[in-house]
Amino acid sequence: MILRLYLPILKILLIDRATRKFLIGVGIGLAFSMAVILCALGIMDGFDREMRQKLRSVSGDIQIISRHGQLSSLEIEKDFEPISAMIPDVRRTTVYQTEAFLIREQNSRGILLRSVVPEEYSNAMGIKIELRIGQIALGKELAQYLGVGLGDEVVLALPQGQEGSKMLPTLNAFSVHQLLDHGLFEFDSRVAYLNLDDLRTIIGNAWASDESLGNYIFVTLPEGKQAEVSRYIEQLKQKLPKHYQVRPFWSDFGVLLEAVKIEKTVLALVLQVIVLVSLFNVFGFIVYIHEKKAQEIFLFRAMGLSDKQLFILWPCFLVTLWFLSCLVSLLFVQIFNLLLHNLDLLKVPGEIYHLGRLDIKLGLFEYLLVFAPALAQIIVLALFGLRRFMNRPIISGLRMEFS
């Protein structure tokens, strides 16, 4: 019954244009302030997710390193048998990852060289690597820096070993066969891929044995299991011999991601000030309604509108304002996201951050973090406003407002 009064009374309260305009202004102000917080949180979440997603594509879900250095096929077979049993459909690849130097005419750069078995690597990491003997694949940004394109020749400088004269570099020319885009600026500006057989040929003498397959193992979990990375890491740590170091894919950027998480929480709290400022507008609207619509409200009460009805209707009006503001704020967020995707002005400089384009990603927690405090504050304001009507006897209110 009370809600049947909702629309007619709302219509009476908003009958004049000034009130409607004021209300729209207040609603947009509230929506905008909530959108600002949502965008800030969304960008941070987007950064976090994007970073994790890209990191997965370059490191799998789990990285395993042996403290003994290189891993032989025999060793891998023996030690890693339990992984397949523990996680069905798991994919893994062994990579020889080392530092090297890449030279092209006057340009050169220190790089991260990954020597892989192309088919196995492609299958495990989901990025297609096609390399035959004498070919090299470069990260997109690295190729741009060196000024090379497909088919061009680059020179790779590698140490022949780790002791004495073997540390002197050996120089070998390779043809650029692929340019790869991992979506991580820093990685794309440093990485190069080589066929493992090429590496064996170049530094064959330095290998412990011909059975050696690499020094890193990247493990990719089956679809749907990615959220359980931490749990699998704990299990692997227990099952694998102690000389293995097991790390999540984000370990290299762990501090950065943790900082983003902390910043997000702090920012959400600090930015509540913006909502608070816009709530002053809501408060202003409540005061305005009290001044402009007190006649109506006291007359409604004289004619039979009960305190209970008023107690429900008045907060309902403000909750409606909050709800509509929330919807409008979502629209603002979408608009900002669109601009973020399309305006060069909003492109994050690659030299500062690792990702080219950011995306706003919001989850239930972020929405709650923004919308719930605003709702709570609005309800407090509504109750505060009601007090004024409730405390004054109807007849004195009528006399005062109509005199």
Binding site: I12, D16, Q295, G304, S306, D307, I395, R399
Partner: protein
């Protein structure tokens, strides 16, 4: 046999240090028309507001249709104001932001009893009071007499059992004053409502068979 519609016993109302009502006892009989006179500050309006459930007494009781208002919750008191009482104030209390039709239908809207029957009866009453042409107008476009008649239609729109009027002719000239008084009496009779009019105008009071006096918070009958 006449029965009491409203019974007032030992009714007092104290505002801070002022005793507005100092123990009023009276039976207002169903269908009867009363005029209450008294000097300013004698407590006559206070009595009216307490009868109308607009305020709560300091002590004593008001029984309407056999039910003590003190036992009513705020919600029940609101329903009592909506359905049992019709108010006509000195100031018309018409909302300036709404046209007269919407003003008249407010009690029905609030009481959630806005039916075509109510709208029809309101229209008939407007025709009877010759203000049907005012229904779509805003209150400020009406003369004082028209405003008071619109106010009267609103008070009677839900056929209340008790019609309470606080100086209904206070803002009208003598001709309009007499017209409104006679209208009130006629309509109260037609609707079978008990009519209580508070006035300081002896001429208005002279139209009523039951004249009461308020003095220093006490109610006296007058032959």
């Amino acid at each position: 046999m006449e029965r009491a519609l409203v019974t007032v016993k030992n009714l007092t109302k104290v505002y801070a240090t002022t005793k507005a009502l100092a123990g009023v006892n009276f039976d207002f009989m169903a269908g009867t028309q009363y005029a209450i006179q008294g000097a300013s500050g004698s407590g006559k309006s206070t009595l009216l507001y307490l009868l109308g459930g607009l305020d709560r007494p300091s002590s004593g009781s008001i029984c309407a249709d056999g039910k003590d208002l003190a036992d009513f919750s705020n919600q029940e008191l609101a329903v009592y104001r909506n359905l049992f009482i019709g108010f006509v104030f000195q100031f018309h209390f018409l909302l300036p932001s709404m046209n007269c039709r919407s003003n008249i239908l407010l009690p029905a809207l609030i009481g959630n009893v806005l039916t075509p029957d109510v709208e029809q009866s309101v229209l008939k009453l407007a025709e009877y009071l010759e203000v049907q042409h005012c229904l779509e107008k805003m209150p400020y476009q009406l003369s004082g007499g028209e405003q008071q008649r619109i106010n009267l239609i609103r008070a009677l729109s839900l056929r209340p059992k008790l019609l309470l009027c606080d100086e209904p002719t206070g803002n009208l000239d003598s001709i309009n004053s007499e017209k409104v008084t006679l209208l009130l009496k006629t309509l109260a009779t037609q609707y079978g409502a008990t009519l209580i009019v508070v006035t300081h105008d002896a001429k208005v009071a002279s139209h009523f068979e039951q004249n009461l006096w308020m003095k220093d918070g006490h109610l006296f009958t007058r032959g």
